[in-house]
Amino acid sequence: MKKLVLVSLMILLAVSIITAGSTITIKGSDTLVRLGQRWAEEYMKKNPGVIIQVSGGGSGTGIAALLNGTTDICEASRDMKSKEYKLAEKKGFKPVRYSVALDGIAVFINKDMPIKELSLAQLKGIYTDAITNWKEIGGPDHLIILYGRENNSGTYAFFKKQVLDREDYADRTQTLPGTAAVVNAVAKDKWGIGYGGIAWAKGVKFVAVKKDDTTKAVIPTSESVSSGAYPISRELYWFFSSEPTGEMKKFLDWALSEEGQQIAEEVDYVPLPKK
């Protein structure tokens, strides 16, 4: 009897060691978490025995986790800051970056707002409080209600850099924890305007954006982001603490393959341009 218990314990131990060897943790950007989860599901279906755990928290959170060694893959919707690269160097490793998909930042308004297009300059004015009334940009006479993301979000940082020319957001911007919350608020607020990844924006109206007054306004779609015609787009990254090997390498290659990119498109991200 004792022997039996001992043997079964040893088997259990062996099994747990084998499976523990192929557990991959992914952490980071809230923009990417949905794609990460879909990839993980599909990959686990194809490769039983591999366990992939995906969680969000923001690009900054993910990068911090990578630096602290608590995650294998960090999903980020922005590049690492030079301070973060330096910190990694101090800890003795060199993070490796891969683009895994593209994302456009859509600007959206309530369905009842009769505005079709805005220029980057107008958007900057709106979010820096230089333009405060809808009538200044061709809408009805009412205060513009600003919605945005919390300042730990990669989307916040990207929009600030790309659209606001690094100026500050208006203090009165209502910041919400997650793009889904921004979309929800704008869907319910007639005077609201918000921004976020194009994958999330259901139930609100996209604004066509033009670079300046001479160019044509473009609605964010998969094609316009992929071709570079839409002016507010970005690359989404995976960071590794070193060049990935083994199961992680296989997972990365699969995500970048046609099949993986197909899944990215299914959940409304933009696949990488084919090489």
Binding site: G57, G58, G60, T61, A64, K81, K83, E84, L87, L143, I145, E150, N151, N152, Y156, A157, K160, R166, D168, Y169, D171, R172, T173, Q174, T175, L176, P177, A181, N184, A185, K188, D189, G192
Partner: protein
């Protein structure tokens, strides 16, 4: 029954172990405070940090861009980081104030009914149900306020800003009601029966008894509940993070968006660069929050002690 000598040692050890557990809680509090405070110290001596965030810069209006009006502003992720604490203080107090305005009448009213007028069966139903409110995770309350309550309030009152101090305050109030209710109810039910009997014997009606005898006697207990509820409202994080709009502005109106200290810590700590001015300021905010809730909770305890003395007839 006689003790064997061996059991003396056991007794001695048992006593010491229990003493250690009691002191470990005390030690934990002291260590936590020391750590938080230590991380905020560079604000007071590091010249490089003070360049961005000195006490002066955090307190008074600053002229950030030459020629523009000086202002209070919380923009830590800016090219010119701005760390005014005043908008955060005002936001925190506004949320707590609305929460108390909402929770005190409801909590105390429910306690008076439950302790004085409800039938035994009714009381056995009301008490657990209200106390169940305390068990709702704050993230659920926050989500409810963000999606449902905000829409309802905006349709009803036509607020300009969908997420504001009223919205967050009501959701906070729901979290605070059980605290006020439980403490007030306990205080009222523990008023000695002899006091009630005496008043009734002198010809007072049940309404008069509860209003002129029970309520004044239990007042310290009710006050303690209110104070502890206030402490909770100040420190509560998830609800305000989701329901308040998180806009750091200075305004006297409770229908504007607010940003509280606790929500700021929760939202920004994950992103902050270790050892930067921003990092130190966030820990400084944590220190302030710690001291403030500590004082508030201690105040609550002191009031409670007074209540006990009153029941024992030491003071009137």
């Amino acid at each position: 029954m006689s003790f064997k000598p061996k059991s003396r040692i056991k007794e001695f050890l048992g006593e010491k172990i229990i003493a250690i557990t009691a002191f470990s809680a005390l030690l934990a509090i002291i260590l936590i405070f020391a750590f938080i405070f230590k991380e905020s110290l560079p604000i007071f001596y590091d010249a490089e940090i003070q360049e961005e965030a000195s006490l002066n810069k955090m307190t008074f209006k600053q002229e950030y861009i030459e020629g523009r009006d000086p202002k209070w502003s919380w923009q830590p992720n800016s090219d010119i980081p701005k760390y005014s604490l005043l908008p955060l203080f005002i936001g925190t107090l506004k949320a707590a104030l609305v929460a108390m305005l909402f929770a005190i009448p409801l909590g105390v009213g429910a306690a008076i009914y439950s302790a004085e007028f409800a039938s035994r069966r009714m009381r056995e139903m009301i008490k657990p149900v209200i106390e169940l409110l305390a068990g709702i995770p704050s993230v659920v309350l926050g989500f409810f306020a963000l999606i449902v309550l905000a829409t309802f309030l905006q349709d009803f009152f036509n607020f300009t800003y969908r997420l504001n101090a009223v919205n967050a305050g009501i959701a906070l109030g729901i979290a605070v009601i059980p605290i006020i209710f439980t403490m007030a109810e306990d205080a009222m039910t523990s008023v000695p029966q002899s006091l009630r009997d005496a008043a009734l014997a002198l010809g007072a009606s049940p309404w008069q008894v509860s209003l002129t005898v029970v309520l004044p006697t239990a007042l310290p207990g009710i006050a303690a509940g209110i104070v502890l509820g206030f402490g909770r409202a100040i420190g509560e994080t998830m609800i305000v993070l989701m329901a308040s709009g998180n806009a750091a502005i200075i305004s006297g109106s409770i229908t504007d968006s607010i940003r509280t200290i606790s929500a700021t810590i929760a939202a920004e700590l994950a992103e902050v660069v270790f050892g930067s001015a921003h990092y130190n300021v966030i820990f400084f905010l944590g220190t302030i929050l710690f001291i403030f809730t500590f004082i508030v909770n201690m105040g609550g305890e002191l009031v409670l002690r007074r209540l006990k003395e009153r029941f024992q007839g030491k003071i009137i």
